[in-house]
């Protein structure tokens, strides 16, 4: 996996930790976001934040289809949207 995917993963961990008001160390990148309690509509918050961060346009449902931080990071990396 590319460096940028790693960066992205780190950034996503930070984001998710902030949504959950948790320590980033507690966030696993392989656990489904739903398990953390980020429900279907909350995923739109994340989508918006990613769009602003990467300056890309995404399907709002991106986090429904890529359900873990790992999967998301990988997907975003393939978009090459940096």
């Amino acid at each position: 996996m590319s460096d940028s995917a790693d960066d992205l993963r780190g950034w996503l961990v930070q984001r998710v930790a902030s949504y959950l008001e948790k320590d980033p160390a507690e966030i696993s990148t392989s656990v489904s976001l739903t398990k953390y309690g980020l429900d279907s509509v909350y995923a739109f918050v994340m989508c918006g934040d990613i769009e602003d961060h990467l300056n890309v346009t995404l399907e709002p449902t991106v986090a429904w289809d890529y359900r873990t931080i790992d999967a998301l990071a990988e997907h975003l990396d393939t978009l090459g949207g940096r």
Binding site: Y19, T34, D39, P60, T61
Partner: protein, 550 residues
């Protein structure tokens, strides 16, 4: 079209009309659907209103659909829901996600005057439909088997077909549900058991049913769209229903207002008519303004479904939030004028208490008001950042009441507006506004600026189910700004006497704590006079103000 339907149904106040208010009340007392009303709606072919023209129906614009349906709702909400809207709720899933064959099948059933139930709700999960337990799982032969229960569903038993919301995967997440389009005739008779009817305090004629499925096989090809996309389909479909249903119910308050005016003009107290009491007049004028607010917001949101479909996930939920409370409050205030005549279930005004009971469903039915705010919150920071105070002007057609619209493009609806909102910024005043209107518009522009700051400061947890009341209030205030922008721009587009828009904006500003919400004497008088005129001329109280029979 609504003229034709109005004519067919006749003057509801006419004692000789077999489908008058008294007959509607009598059906309610028997807890039955109003049979004569259903017969006439069959004759009119009301279902065709829910079927796009491309499939042989008459559905062109959602605003037009709403107008037609108001003719039904203003007479009998139980017909509105139990004859019409419940099939409409089912239909949008099919137009949004079905394939051509499914759409055609749906259209054919509708055009043959059949009923189709929209089967979402489980008592154990209510608004949290993502946790629905009802499941469709592949059986031995690969066919889907249905298991589980659905409850409090309109027409469940008498419908020929059902659109069922079901879990299709065990996985958590938002890709685990689907809608099914199922015809009862295709099901083995012993795998489906109806539950006893659920009686209710309003909508008493509507047959609320339940069902339990036990390993019930369904035909292949029953899933609407790609399996697993059910939540997405629901969130898109809801945009039509959350917009259209509350807006249809404006018809209920039209009759409520008409009943109250009849009472107030006929009743003599202290040697003059009740309608001459200044306090009564001022309440009636305010209720009229509130009704116009609901119509303007609902109509603009309905037109947005055609013109700005990528924005309507926000507008639809907020229409439901605003209109539901405005209409309930309107009926409550009117009930106090009717006094004892509201409280009794006989006589000329008996229809009022029925309407008031029926209208209750607007608050929680389909989705709780607060759940509507919760739908918008996750998007709100993005909306604020990307659109508020900076968005481009919306297309002019958005505000042209009755203007032509392009056909609905269901594929363009999206579960999130992704920050797009051109309606709120349109509230900004410009030099062309008359002073009084400009001042009022300025209040909302100011509010939008504050909201922009407040939205930016929301904590992450405030964007989800754990939102604080203050965060929900941000969404609610935003809803008020959208309603105000709708009123302002509908008036800008249509022109004419600004009295109503001054009244509407004054009322809405009051909800933001900007002023008392009470109408200035001169405005109140103008609205009341207009109300009396329309009542005398027998015209609708909504923006279109079309003539009514009788």
């Amino acid at each position: 079209m609504s003229e034709m339907l109005e004519k067919l149904l006749g003057d509801p106040w006419d004692p000789a009309n077999p489908v008058n208010h008294a007959a509607v009340v009598a059906a309610d007392e028997r807890q039955e659907m109003f049979a004569e009303g259903e017969r006439l709606l069959d004759e009119y072919g009301l279902n065709a209103e829910f079927v796009p023209v491309a499939f042989g129906g008459r559905l062109t614009g959602v605003d037009r659909l709403v107008r037609v349906m108001r003719s039904v709702w203003r007479r009998d909400p139980a017909l509105g829901l139990g004859y019409g809207a419940s099939s409409f709720i089912a239909s949008v899933n099919v137009w949004a996600a079905g394939d051509d064959g499914q759409r055609r099948a749906f259209a054919d059933l509708m055009l043959a005057n059949r009923k189709i139930a929209s089967v979402y709700h489980e008592l154990a999960h209510g608004n949290d439909f993502a946790r629905a337990e009802f499941a469709a799982t592949p059986g031995p032969g690969g066919r889907l088997l249905l298991n589980g229960r659905k409850e409090v569903v309109t027409n469940l038993e008498r419908a020929d077909s059902m659109v069922i919301f079901t879990r299709t995967s065990d996985e958590e997440g938002s890709r685990s549900h689907s809608q099914l389009f199922v015809h009862k005739a295709d099901l083995p008779p012993d795998r489906m058991t109806y539950l006893p009817r659920f009686p209710s305090s309003g909508m008493r004629g509507v047959q609320l049913g339940g069902v339990v499925f036990d390993d019930c096989p369904i035909p292949d090809g029953s899933v609407l769209g790609t399996p697993g996309r059910g939540i997405e389909t629901a969130l898109c479909s809801f945009q039509l229903t959350r917009t259209a249903l509350p807006s249809m119910m404006v018809g209920v308050v039209d009759t409520g207002l008409r009943a109250t005016l009849r009472f107030a003009t006929a009743r003599a107290l202290y040697g003059r008519s009740v309608a001459a009491i200044p306090q009564v007049r001022s309440i009636l004028a305010e209720v009229y303004a509130d009704l116009l607010i609901c119509d303007a917001f609902g109509t603009v949101a309905a037109r947005a479904l055609h013109l700005l479909p990528r924005e309507t996930s926000v507008y639809a939920s907020l229409v439901k939030y605003v209109v539901s409370k405005q209409l309930i409050d309107a009926m409550d205030r009117l009930s106090l004028i009717l006094g004892a005549h509201f409280y009794i279930r006989e006589g000329v005004y008996a229809v009022f208490q029925k309407l008031l009971r029926d209208l209750g469903v607007i608050g929680f039915g389909h989705a709780a008001r607060v759940a509507c705010l919760a739908t918008v919150l996750p998007q709100i920071r993005q909306l604020a950042r990307r659109s508020w105070l900076t968005a481009d002007e919306p297309p002019a057609g958005l505000f042209q009441i009755g203007g032509e619209l392009p056909p609905l493009d269901f594929a363009a609806l999206t579960p999130s507006a992704a920050g797009r909102d051109s309606l709120s910024t349109a509230v900004l005043p410009d030099a062309a506004l008359p002073g009084e209107v400009a001042v009022l518009a300025g209040l909302f522009a100011d509010e939008l600026g504050l909201l922009k700051q407040d939205a930016a400061e929301l904590r992450p947890r405030d964007l989800g189910v754990d939102a604080s009341p203050e965060a929900l209030r941000v969404a609610a205030r935003y809803a008020t700004v959208l309603a105000a922008s709708s009123c302002l721009n509908v008036w800008r587009a249509g022109g004419g006497d600004p009295a109503w828009v001054v009244a509407a904006l004054t009322r809405l500003a009051g909800q933001l704590g900007r002023g008392s919400g009470r109408l200035p004497e001169a405005i109140s008088r103008r609205l009341f006079d207009e109300l009396l005129d329309r009542h005398g001329e027998n015209r609708g109280f909504d923006l279109a103000g079309l003539p009514l029979p009788g």
